[in-house]
Symmetry: D2
Subunit: 364 residues, 4 copies
C-alpha cells in the first residue's frame, strides 16, 4: 500500500526528503509545509500538483496524509512531533531527535502509547557500508570489539546554535548504536572541546567513551579542518575493519591482522596471569563489494515497512534517545572541565638556554 | 675536523646509528660497544677495522673517541650518559632522554656543568618536512596556531616495558617542541589509554593538551591498528598545513582555507563581543617541493656542528626534558583516572523494546 | 526569457536531462517523448503536469516548445535532429553527434542554413575542472603542450553496438577539443584495439595522435578494468597539470616541474643544434580550489544563452564533428591493422633452456 | 659455501651492489673495480679491507674471486662479460644485458659453452610483489590473460645515450617475461615515441604488443611526468590484479570482477557464434599480505644458489635476450614510423565558425 506523507521544513535538509519521497514507490508526497511559501514552492518546483501548506495545523488537519517527516531546527522537534502524533500521524524526525533528553523521552513515550511509529532519520545506518559493518560486528567475525576510532572532520558550517559535538557526533553515535550488539551505552563520556576562533562554543573536539571490558571509543569532530575525512576503525580481537567513506572504490577494508597475547595462569591464584607469548597476525585484507544504493531511499522504505508491519523501525525513538544521552553527557563533561581535574603539568623551568636552538651562552 | 665516535648498543636502533656515522663525512666511527660481542660483530660486518668493545668502561677509557651515541634501553640512559660525560665525551642519547624526569634533569645539569654537548636524537626534527613545518609556523604564515591533531598508529610491537604513550608519543611531542615558537609547554595533559588485550599497560590512547588561548593539541597513538597512519594537521588562523608522512609525493599540503569571525564591540562593555559575520576562506592548496634527505645524517651533522661550534644542538637535553615532562604527566593522568571524574553517563533504561531493530511488542 | 524544451528519449541518459531542465530556471520542461509511454511516465513521476508524447512528430508539432534535447541511440540522431530543425526547433544532441561524419556534416550545415542552434552535449566541458584546464592551457601558463595522456577505464557496460573507442573516447576527445587552443586536429590517428573476450569489437584500446611539433596525445579506454580511473596529464614546457577526476578534494594539481634543454647552434649550419645543458625544475605544486557545480546545469544554461544571444554554443556542431572525425579515423586504423605493418618481432628461438627458471641441463 | 665477488663500476648502480653483497651472508665482497680510484674508495668507505682495482684485467687476474658483477654502461657489458667468462668467473650483468641483441647472443652462447652462470639483474623479479604475481598468473587463478597495462612514469633523468624505451621499459619487459607462463614473446611490437623537448630521442612513449589470442600488452614510459606512477594491471578471464608499487600498504589488489560472454553455436557452421548473454562479476577484492624483503638481496642469493647448484638462475641470459629482442623491435618500429602508415586523418575544414566558442556570424 502506498503511504502518503507531508514534509515539514523546506530549508537545509527538507529538499532531500522531498526528492526521496518523490522517488520512492512506497510513498506518495502529498504536501510540503513551510512558514515561507516561496521557499516551499521552490522546493517542489514547477508543473507539479504537490501542495504547499504554510502552517503545521493545516498540514496535520489533512486527512490525506498518513505520516509527516520533520526537518526543522532541533528545538522544534518535540512540539511538532507530539502534535503530529496527537493528530494520528506516524512521524519521522531528523537527527538529533530533540534538543533535550527529557523532550525525547516524552516523544518516545507518547508514540508508544498511541501505537504510532516514531523514527529517527539516522541516514548513515541505511548505507550499504554501515549495514555491512553491522553484520560484520554482530556475526562475530571481528571477535570482541577492542576499540573504535572515528574521525569526522572538514571545513564546516560554523553553527551559532549548537557546538561541533551536537552537529557532527550524532552521525558517529547513531552508527555506533546501530552496529554494536547492545547498542550505544558507554560507561562514561569525556569531551575535550576547543573554541580557538572565539565562536562561543566548541568548534573541534574529542569524545572519549569507555565501553566496558577495556574497549574504548573515540570520536574526533572538527569544523576547522581544511580537508574532509570520514574514517572509522573498528578494532576486533580477530579482525579489524577500516571504513573510509570518501573512497567509493574501497569503502571497507577488513584486515586479518592483530595481536594475540598468550596468557597463562600458572600460579595458585588463577586471577594472576603471566604473559607467555605475543602473536602477530599479519594476514591478508579483504574488501567486500558493496552495492551502490542511496541511503535516504532505503531509510524511507524502512519507515514505510515499519508502519505497514506494525513494528519499530531499525532506528527508532530509543536509538535517538541513546544518542541524545551521550550528547547531553558530552555537554556536561565540558561544563565540568574544571572539576574534571585533568593533570596539571608541573612547569618545566624555561631557562634562557632551554628554548630550542638557543646557544649555550658565553660560558663555553 | 672529523670527530670520532663510539656507538653503545647494537640492538634495535644501534645499527642505524652505525650506518649513519659511517656514511657521514663529519664522523669517524671508531668502535661499537655491546655486551654481546657477536651482535656487535654482525652490525659492523666483515672486512672492517672498526673495533668492538664489550664494556662501557673500556669504550670510555679510549682516548681516540670524542663522543658516544647511546642506543640502549631507556632506563640505562642516565647512568651511561653520566659516565660518558664524566669521561669527557659528548653524548647523543636515543629518545626518550631518560626513564624519569628527575634522571633527565641530572643529565642536563651535568652536561652544562662540564660544558659538553648532550643531544637527544629526535630524528623526525631533522626531516625536510618537519624543518619546513617549523619555518612555516615560526614565520607566522599559518597565523595563530588553533589546533594540532596528530595520528601515529600501526600494528606495532606490543612492548612489555612501556605503554604506547611512552613508545610512540615522544615522536609527536618532540616534533611539537621543535615547531612551536615557545617549545612544548601545555597547560594540562589528559591521557585516555586503553588496554583491551590485557597487556597490563595501554596499547592505544589519546593525549589531549590545551596549549593556551583556546589552542588544543591531540595525539592518537595505537599499536593495534592494521593500517599505518602518520598524519598531522596544524590548524592556523590564516592557513592550515596537513602533513601526511606516508605520501612521499606530497608530504605537506598548505591550505589557504579557514574560518574568520567578525566580532564587534558595540556595547559599552568592550569585553562583550557580538558575532557580526562568519567568513570562509576556500582558497587554493600549495604543496612545497621538499628535498629527499635522510634525517639521521642531518642529525649526525648537527651533533658534530654543535660540538665544533660550542653551542647547544637543535634538540638539546632541554628538549628531551620537556618531552619527558609531558610523558610523566600522561602517566599520572592515567593513574588518576578515577579521580578525574569524567562524566558518568546516566544509564538509558534498556527496555526490551529499545534494542535496535526489535519489534514494538504485543500491544500493537 | 524562460525557454521551453521537450526531451526525446527516456532511456539511459534522458532522465538526467529531465532532472536538469526541471532544475534550471532558464528552462521549462514541457514534455518528454518516448515510444514507451510507461517509461516516460516513470521518468517524470507522479503529481506532475509535464506531458508525455509517444511520437517525435507529435512532439515537434507542438507550438509550446522552443527546443528539443535528443537522448536516443546515436544512429537516430541525424534523422531526429534534422526533423527538429525543419520544425524550427533548436537542438541539443547527446554525444556522439551522429554515427557517421557525413550525417554530422548534414546536421551542422542544415542548422547553419536555418539559423538554429545545434549543440552537442559534451558534458565534461562544463565541469569546473575542465573549464579551469582550458583557461590554464589557453593562458599559456603551461607553456607549449608537450604531451597529453588520458586514462578512462572501469568495468563498463560491454556494448553490442559500438566498440570501446566510440563509447568512451568521445569524452576525452571532446575535452581535448575544448581545451586545445586550436581545437582537436591531430595529424594522424593510430588505434590499437583488442577484443580478448570475443565480443566482436574492441573492449579496450589505445588511441595515439601526434598533434604536431612533437606533441603526442594518447587515450587509454578499457571496459575490462576492475578499478575506475579518470586521469589525464597535460604536460607543458613550463608546467604540467594532472587531473584526477575521482579525487574531489584535489582534482587538479599544477606542477612547476619539468625538463629544459639548453640547445645551442654553434656550427655554421644553424639547424644543427647541440645539447649544452639539461635543467630540471623541481618546484612546488599548486592545487586550485574549484567550485562544486553540476556540469549538466551549466550545459543547459549555455544552451539557453546561445539561443537567446543568437550565437554558437561552446560545444557546437563543429566540435561534435571534429570528435567524430577522430572516431572514424580510429575505426579505419583498426580496419587497416594488417596494412599498418607494425614491426613483426623476429622470434627469439625458444630453446629448451630458455624458459624462465629451467635448469641448464645435464652438461653441467 | 661463501662465494667471493668483485663489483665492476662504482657509478650509479654499483654502490647498491656493493651494499647488497656486503649484507648477504652467501657473499664475500673482495674488491671493487673502477677506472676512477677515488670513486671506488668513496663507495667502500673508511676502515675497510675491501680492495680497489682500477683495471678489469687486474680484477679478473685475481684468484680470490669466483664471480663479477658488472654495473657499467650497457655498451661495455658484452666485452666485460666475455672477458670475465674467459677468466672463468660467473657473471652478473645489470639490465639491459647488452646494447644489441647480437652481443647478447654471444654472451649467452659463451656462458653456456663454458658452463658458467650468466645472470641478468632483473631486480624487480625478486620483489615479493612480482613473485606473488608470477604465482598468481602461473597457478591459473587469473584465468586466461586478457590484457596487461603498465605505466612507469616520473620526472626522470633525460639520458643522452638511450631513449626512454631502453631506459625504463626493460623493467616492465623483464617482469612480463618473468610472470607470463611462456615468457615474453609478443607477435608484434608497435612503439609510438615522442620527443617534444628536442632531446634527439624519445622522452615518452607507448609500446603495444599483441601477445596472441586477442591479448594485448601496453607499456607507457615517460620521463616528463611530474608525478611518479608505477602501476600495472593484469586482466584475466577470472580475476584481475592491480599492482601499485608506490602503495606499500596495498601493493597488490586481486579483484574478483570481470565480464563473461555466453556464446552459443546454434548454426550449422559451428565457427559462427552468437552472443547470448553478458555476465558481470562484481565480487570482492583481496589484498595479500606481502613480506617486506629487499629485492637486491634475494637476487644476490639467487645468483649464489645458481652457481652452487649448477643451474640457470631465474633471470638468466635468455631472459635478458628476450627483453633485448623487444627493445630492438621497438627501435625498429620507431624508425619505420613513416612506413607504418598509421591512418592519416582527413582534415576537418577549419571554418571560421568552427573554432570552439566562436559566434555563428552575420547570417543570423
Amino acid at each position: 500500500m502506498t503511504l502518503r506523507v507531508g514534509v515539514v521544513g523546506a530549508g537545509y535538509w527538507g529538499p532531500n526528503l522531498v526528492r526521496t519521497f518523490r522517488g520512492t514507490p512506497e510513498w506518495d508526497l502529498v504536501a510540503v509545509c513551510d512558514l515561507d511559501r516561496e521557499r516551499a514552492d521552490r522546493v517542489i518546483g514547477d508543473r507539479t500538483t504537490v501542495e504547499v501548506e504554510t502552517s503545521l495545523d493545516a498540514l496535520l488537519a489533512r486527512t490525506d496524509i498518513d505520516a509527516v517527516a520533520v526537518a526543522t531546527p532541533a528545538d522544534t522537534h518535540c512540539s511538532m512531533a507530539l502534535a503530529a502524533l496527537e493528530a494520528g500521524k506516524h512521524v519521522l524526525v531528523e537527527k538529533p531527535l530533540a534538543s533535550t533528553r527529557a523532550d525525547a523521552e516524552r516523544m518516545v513515550a507518547r508514540a508508544e502509547e498511541l501505537g504510532l511509529v516514531l523514527m529517527c532519520d539516522h541516514t548513515y545506518c541505511y548505507t550499504p557500508a554501515v549495514q555491512y559493518l553491522r553484520a560484520l560486528v554482530q556475526s562475530g567475525e571481528l571477535g570482541d570489539i577492542l576499540f573504535v576510532d572515528s574521525v569526522r572532520i572538514n571545513l564546516g558550517l560554523v553553527r551559532p546554535d549548537v557546538d561541533v559535538f551536537w552537529d557532527l557526533a550524532p552521525h558517529d553515535l547513531s552508527i555506533l548504536d546501530f552496529i554494536l550488539p547492545n547498542g550505544l551505552s558507554p560507561l562514561e563520556v569525556s569531551a575535550h572541546g576547543s573554541d580557538p576562533i572565539g565562536n562561543g562554543r566548541s568548534c573541534l573536539g574529542y569524545l572519549t567513551m569507555p565501553l566496558g571490558g577495556g574497549t574504548i571509543a573515540n570520536i574526533h569532530v572538527n569544523w576547522l579542518s581544511p580537508t574532509k575525512i570520514r574514517h572509522m576503525v573498528i578494532g576486533g580481537s580477530r579482525k579489524t575493519v577500516v571504513w573510509d567513506d570518501l573512497n567509493p572504490q574501497q569503502r571497507l577494508s577488513v584486515y586479518d591482522r592483530g595481536v594475540d597475547l598468550d596468557l597463562t595462569s600458572d600460579t595458585a591464584d588463577a586471577a594472576e596471569k603471566r604473559l607467555v607469548n605475543v602473536n602477530y597476525r599479519l594476514g591478508d585484507m579483504h574488501a567486500p563489494a558493496l552495492p551502490e544504493r542511496e541511503a535516504l531511499g532505503v531509510m524511507a522504505r524502512e519507515f514505510a515497512a515499519a508502519i505497514n508491519e506494525g513494528r519499530a523501525p531499525l532506528t527508532d525513538g530509543h536509538a535517538g534517545l541513546r544518542v541524545l544521552a551521550v550528547l547531553e553527557a558530552a555537554s556536561e563533561s565540558q561544563r565540568r572541565a574544571g572539576a574534571m581535574a585533568p593533570v596539571s603539568l608541573p612547569r618545566v623551568p624555561q631557562l634562557a638556554s632551554s628554548s630550542p636552538g638557543a646557544g649555550f651562552g658565553g660560558g663555553w
